[in-house]
Symmetry: C2
Subunit: 479 residues, 2 copies
């Protein structure tokens, strides 16, 4: 029998996990199927592959990454660590718990950069259309080589969709927004907070984008940061200059009216209104239609498409766990494909889906949701040879992280956590997040002498009232 | 014989011209094929259908329009007027020669809004993939209804590609650009110049985008406007505060170095670096690959795809003439499809293409290029029942327009031209372009009393040295 051909669409963290899963089996002596990954960017890493462009990329494709220059992890790295490739192994020494983007990219790249898996990726290649031939149960995948504009089609036995769901912004209408004269875009197109210095900033939304861009804008010296919520406020103990208001009702030029009757003028508006599940290369009977939820309908064990069980999704959930969950999913999907794990019948899968959906209905808050996702991962890992890790302890880390944020949204990233993989405690970083203005890998891994400027700054910095955005010598309202 | 089915992809000015061409034949009593247009936006008008969003639209699709709120026509309307639906007919009275965007949208909408052609358009519908079945010489067109996420496929006998080529930005790399901390995007994502007030603005490019956004930024009170050219400067007599520099070499944060050794600091950078021909829904053997040129290779008479003569392109040329050229193309394509015009053999088409390419090689400058495009249009109209118009006079209008710009880039839009369709002279507008800050249709068509503010402003305004961006009471460097 000829080897099966597997198409992986996307080589971000999920697609890389799939590549690694197959490579891991091959390294252990197994014969693996022919695997080809298609990645529209020039390099892998997905979200973690920063693009200075916004909107449309150098090939005319929608820009994939929603990350900005100054982004640091907003959760402790101990909650996302690979169970089979630790931070200690990669960096050779403990690093802090909240690394900047480039450091995390280096980590996920490092796991696979010395293997042969990069040869399996067609970079700068966009998948244009997938057709399912039901008679033979195979797929024609049509792709475009973006560098030479050539389209080609070939047949695959299975398709793994790993394109993520934080790339296509959800950009709703607000009354009068077309009259707003200032900076206006979605968080997806946010590339750095430096330009928000001295600006009156409105962030529409009350989730991670608003929280993170909000404190980043504050850090970089925004004159004011207003966050507008629909269902409820985030409720952190915001520093002076940051506030939450209920949903905005309308724009009239630069003036925004809120549902509590207040009005404000703004210089910049960023829509932190979430993302769409979007798979423009899939016919609708193969395309997941879902909001951002931790257990999307139609995916057996969160990965097998009920409508066609040779189609798999990785990372389609809303995520507490990230990299290690993608691993658990990728290892399980690999084992299904290689016949190491048995796919239940459609009826059994439906029953399983209903069971887990019922459990999901019982989830009543963030702590519950973290535990639910931990149990989901435990179930997947149990079916594979991926190393089991202490999920109960990782849940505890997530809950402590949430506590840290409640205590101080500006300093939570300075706290170290202990790895459940190695037992080693994270390093304290040489510079606090609030004072660090150089987010590069080089600076992060350096052990700089404290400069006079930093000493001076630290002198006015206390854990409860950090100095707002004045590191570059800008005026501060309070100091 | 069953009626042929024709798919039109895109309902902007070119697609609307195709719809009008068929409707015009039907009105005259002919039986026309079944025509269906697919338009991803919620309304027609293409570029002229303003979207406040940038980058990605409400359905997760790339935003089509590259226009900004304050955009006015940058060429006289007398050079783009439909020969069979005049401005006088639409507005009932003479209007000025350079109307704002909304006024031009109203004009192209007005020609067809009272007909049945809107019923032939599937709005909010993106074409995902076109497959050519060579055995039967028919096309399967797969589309997605963006509102309900359903994909459907159906067969067509012919495909008219009318998606334009000023929608996918060309976003090249510049050394260090990822370190630029200010506003940074392509002209495609520019939505209004108000936010450039008091900013030091760099526009990379030396064509229409740079010219137009440059004077718009000046009008709205930019502190300085620098335009960077690759081949040569535009060379207008720029007002104080605007300058042209040769190509930039690199960014270091906010500082930009130019090839002549100069450096400048900027607050905002807009890439006016042009657009890509991009047809992500077409296999490469049907997709035009071209730069922006007035006679693209591979299109017989600028419209028939040599590789498959049941595929047509409208508006694929670089354009001096616009709306009336799209009409000439649409009428000719209609006549080919309806058998009113005969398609020469492939060999004859190749010979014709080579002839015109040879003529095109002889084009030596803008005046020549305008004349070349006029002759191209004359050739098309000669083959159809579209009303011939005085192309020599329109060439003269184009040349006068270029002269006007050379004389004063800030006042050329105030000059009236005479319609070759009706013989009537355009109105002088109630407010000069430089003083007009309300670009709405309502304001444009009104006959406002001059306000005190306007009088005061006009008092410091002379044709040669207009007051920079101080209409809103902002400080000016010179006044």
């Amino acid at each position: 029998m000829a080897r099966e051909r597997i198409a992986i669409i996307g080589a971000g963290p999920s697609g890389m996990a799939a590549l690694r899963a197959f490579e891991s089996a091959e390294r252990a002596g197994a014969e693996i199927p022919e695997v080809i990954a298609f990645e529209k960017q020039d390099d892998w890493g997905g979200q973690w592959n920063f693009d200075w462009r916004s909107g449309i990329d150098q090939y005319g494709e929608p820009v994939h990454s929603s990350m900005y220059r100054n982004l640091w992890s907003n959760g402790p790295k101990e909650a996302l660590e690979f169970a089979e490739y630790t931070f200690d192994e990669h960096f050779g020494r403990p690093i802090s718990s909240y690394p900047p983007r480039e450091v995390l990219w280096d980590y996920i790249d490092g796991r696979v950069r010395t293997t042969n898996v990069k040869d399996k990726v067609r970079f700068s290649t966009a998948v244009r259309w997938v057709e399912h031939h039901e008679d033979r149960d195979i797929f024609t995948v049509t792709v475009e080589d973006l560098k030479n504009h050539q389209t080609t089609s070939s047949e695959f036995d299975r398709v793994i969709v790993a394109t993520g769901h934080f790339s296509f912004p959800h950009v709703p209408e607000f009354q009068g927004i077309e009259t707003f004269p200032g900076t206006l875009h979605h968080a997806h197109d946010f590339r750095g907070a430096e330009k928000l210095a001295d600006q009156r900033v409105l962030l529409i939304g009350a989730s991670y984008s608003a929280e993170d861009i909000g404190v980043q804008a504050f850090k970089m010296g925004a004159r004011s940061v207003t966050m507008s919520y629909r269902s409820g406020p985030m409720g952190y103990d915001w520093p002076e200059g940051m506030e939450e208001l209920p949903l905005l009702e309308r724009f009239e030029g630069a003036t925004v009216s809120f549902s509590n009757g207040e009005t404000r003028e703004f210089d910049a508006v960023i829509l932190c209104t979430g993302y769409l599940h979007k798979y423009p290369f899939l016919p609708s009977d193969l395309a997941l239609q879902s909001g951002n939820t931790i257990y999307p309908a139609g995916l057996y064990r969160g990965v097998v498409w009920q409508g066609s069980p040779k189609v798999y999704y990785l990372g389609a959930q809303d995520q507490w766990f990230t990299f290690n969950m993608f691993d658990a999913q990728a290892w399980y999907v690999r084992d299904l494909i290689m016949g190491r794990a048995e796919l239940p019948t459609a009826a059994e899968r439906t029953e399983h889906l209903q069971d887990w959906h019922q459990r999901f209905q019982g989830v009543g808050g963030d702590a519950d949701a973290v535990r639910f996702q931990a149990e989901y991962i435990r179930d997947l890992i149990g079916a594979t040879d991926y190393p089991m890790f202490d999920l109960v302890e990782v849940v505890r880390i997530f809950l402590a992280w949430k506590d840290d944020k409640k205590k101080n949204i500006l300093t939570y990233r300075d706290k170290p956590y202990r790895s459940v993989m190695t037992g080693s405690l994270a390093a304290e970083h040489h510079t606090t997040w609030l004072q660090e203005l150089d987010d590069s890998l080089e600076r992060y891994l350096s052990t700089p002498e404290e400069t006079d400027v930093e000493k001076a700054v630290r002198g006015v910095d206390t854990p409860d009232a950090p100095a707002p955005g004045n590191v570059r010598g800008e005026e501060t309202p309070t100091a």
